[in-house]
């Protein structure tokens, strides 16, 4: 079952993402910014909530009236703010759900990434109570149902000696004190814990994206505002405990589990909620376990330059005082617990150069599963093709987390598979072209903003364009290097791109290296 999900999930996801990328461009694709969008919706909820609270009466007798006044008398601002408050919180539930689903089907919850997945589950236990206590405060029929149902749910737990549901037996039994407690939880208690939980969720991620692109923020906020104007959030009839609430306008995003209470039992609801949460928490450790060996530092080859530290997407590499007596101030240190074995650090290391002749190819930091030396051997093994299409032989360096790379091979196309495209040091491109191991190099990676290891595509682009160390040397003819950030698209689509690249190479003719000058060693503009 899991195997089928892991096969069909990415396939389906790739097609949906492709549609969204066509409409939004990869830079604005909402499916690549689900976490950041959730945080953005949270801020919309906070700002609109503060405005609504300015007019809100925290009492059983006046809460409903104050919300009604805001909704109808000040519809143009207060009503819109109230609607934004509701719809942005619903939108956050949608983005959280899709975010989790996407991380699951792409397997981005295992290994060193367990922490972000694991700390995301308590976030759910804060987001839902936050929304549910919000409905409580409106004090309408939905609030009446939520108050009674939540109390019945909590009464099963051995927390309260007396039934909490007794507070909602009759209209007279409801007290302002209880109402104030709910307001406190909704306005201060849960939001503070939620902020802390978001911080914890992002703790192990280097350069976390907490804001979506401006265009996506404007688009999302505009869409929510249009919804607020077309279909404003309204209160239902006021709470009346002399009658049971029926025909309730129900927010299924937050209250999906509640009908289980009426058609099952409170114990069943807890069983489902706790059981599913426990299962989600344990997922990173359930089979099949596929943890790859972490990056290792070779001290004699490490000069403590810090490029690997700057490029690691998971803060797994840090600098520490030198321990081997060499004349450098610092050395790289890998925290194996945090390492996802993406190899980006090896791609960033200035000693990862296949052009090295005098010494054995051992970089300062390397990936035991696919060391740089093996990468050079692999390149040499596949690049020397007898026959093929003269002048249009292409060497593809591809990310293993996209399409089936083996399917791209033919007489004129050789493939070397990397953990991440940023595992490739730019010197390899120079090596392949200057030594004529191929007529062109084709780099194949994940979609922009959707790198399996988060920053690989960005770092590679910056290295190729001379914005990030290690740079691609100026002597490398750029027209012989092609990139395709296609992610999990079909092989046929990539073959089309490679064919087009080969046609361009054919038109260029055989590679003629330019005479070596000082400029050859400089960075391309």
């Amino acid at each position: 079952m899991l195997k089928q999900i892991f096969q069909a999930g990415p396939w389906l996801l790739a097609r949906i993402e492709k549609l969204y990328s066509a409409a939004f461009t990869p830079a604005w694709n909402p499916l690549y910014h689900l976490g950041a969008l959730t945080i953005f919706f949270f801020w919309v909820v906070v700002v609109s909530g503060i405005y609504v609270f300015l007019f809100f009466e925290t009492s059983v007798t006046h809460a409903y009236e104050s919300v009604e006044w805001l909704t109808h008398t000040q519809w143009y601002l207060g009503g819109v703010m109230r609607s934004l408050h509701r719809y942005a919180s619903d939108a956050a539930v949608v983005t959280i759900g899709v975010h989790m689903l996407k991380e699951f089907v792409t397997g981005r919850y295992r290994g060193a990434r367990w922490f972000s997945w694991f700390t995301g589950i308590p976030l759910l236990w804060l987001v839902f109570p936050l929304g549910i206590t919000g409905y409580w405060l409106v004090w309408d029929q939905l609030a009446q149902y939520v108050a009674i149902a939540t109390s019945e749910l909590l009464d099963v737990l051995p927390i309260f000696s007396d039934p909490m549901a007794r507070n909602f037996l009759t209209n007279e039994s409801v007290s302002d004190r209880f109402f104030t407690l709910m307001a406190f939880l909704h306005l201060i208690g849960f939001p503070i814990f939620l902020l802390f939980a978001i911080w914890l969720h992002l703790l192990r991620i280097s350069r976390p994206t907490v804001n979506p692109p401006l265009g996506l923020m404007i688009g999302s906020l505009s869409a929510l505002t249009v919804l607020s104007l077309l279909w404003p959030a309204l209160s239902q009839a006021p709470a009346d405990f002399s009658q049971a609430a029926t025909g309730i306008g129900f927010d299924w995003f937050y209250l999906l589990a509640y009908p289980l209470l009426d058609y099952g039992s409170p114990a069943l609801v807890w069983l489902v909620l706790v059981g599913s949460s426990t299962l989600l928490c344990l997922l990173p450790w359930l089979p099949p376990r596929r943890r790859k060996p972490a990056a290792v530092v070779s001290l004699p080859d490490c000069n403590g330059c810090g490029r690997c530290v700057a490029d690691c997407p998971y803060n797994a590499v840090s600098l520490a005082p030198r321990s081997d007596g060499l004349a450098y101030a610092e050395q790289a240190v890998v925290d194996a617990e945090l390492c996802t074995a993406c190899g980006i650090c090896a791609g960033a290391c200035p000693t990862s150069t296949p052009l090295r002749r005098k010494s054995e190819l051992v970089p300062g930091i390397d990936l035991p599963g696919l060391p740089i030396r093996a990468l050079r051997d692999w390149t040499l093994a596949v690049a020397v093709q007898p026959g093929g299409d003269p002048g249009a032989r292409v060497l593809v360096y591809g990310c293993a987390n996209g399409v089936n790379l083996a399917a791209l091979r033919n007489g004129s196309v050789a493939v070397v598979e990397l953990q991440c495209i940023a595992q490739l040091p730019p010197a390899f491109i120079d090596f392949v072209i200057s030594r004529r191991h191929a007529d062109g190099v084709f780099l194949l990676g994940c979609r922009e903003n959707d790198c399996h290891f988060r920053l690989g595509v960005q770092w590679t682009t910056e290295r190729l364009t001379g914005k990030r160390d290690p740079y691609l040397r100026a002597r490398v003819p750029r027209e012989r290097v092609a990139t395709y950030w296609g992610g999990r698209v079909t092989e046929a689509e990539i073959e089309g791109e490679i064919d087009a690249f080969r046609a361009r190479l054919r038109a260029l003719g055989p590679y003629q290296p330019a005479p070596v000058t000082q400029a050859s060693y400089e960075v391309a503009p």
């Binding site: 949608v94 019945e152 077309l230 405990f241 049971a244």
Partner: protein, 167 residues
């Protein structure tokens, strides 16, 4: 892709998103009970009588106690369970012996129970025993009530106001 087509695609995506939000934020409507049913709730918090009656201590016993803890009565903490019965039209809906809460069973017995019942004329009877008696009840009360659809009819109990009350 042409830019107008891209913007159209974005508009469709946003429209689908807000349609999803707008619809499931309030619909489909939910009814925890059928609109033509009524609700009968029984709930109370009541402390049963002591399991062992207080005993007057002798002067010798009092003298043996520390000066700051000298009381004239020795009262074991444990409370008796409360037995409650609820009947609707002569049919027993509930009979439950509710233990006193607390590790030493020295606190109140409490209950919250609800029943979905058909609307119309009904006789509701409630009985409660909180003493050591083995037969009969210490508190009983009956009432005839015309329940309307959706009505919440509450049976509460407060010993200090004479026993059961109906709301």
């Amino acid at each position: 892709m042409k830019s107008w087509l891209r913007y159209a695609g974005q508009a469709v995506a946003y429209a689908a998103f807000i349609a999803l939000l707008g619809f499931f934020a309030t619909a489909p409507a939910y009814s925890p009970i059928a609109p033509d049913a009524a609700m009968l709730k029984l709930s109370f918090i009541h402390v049963g009588q002591r399991k062992v009656e207080c005993r007057k201590m002798s002067p010798d016993e009092i003298a043996r106690l520390p000066p700051n803890m000298r009381l004239t009565l020795d009262c074991p903490r444990e409370r008796l369970p409360v037995l409650v019965e609820l009947e609707l039209d002569g049919k027993l809906l509930l009979r439950r012996e509710i233990k006193a809460s607390g590790l030493s069973h020295d606190r109140a017995s409490s209950i919250y129970q609800k029943f979905v019942v058909p609307p119309g004329r009904h006789v509701v009877s409630a009985r409660l025993r909180d003493s050591a008696r083995t037969e009969g009840f210490d508190y009983t009360r009956s009432t005839e009530v015309e329940l309307k659809p959706r009505q919440n009819f509450v049976v509460d109990f407060r010993a200090e106001t004479g026993g059961f009350s109906f709301h």
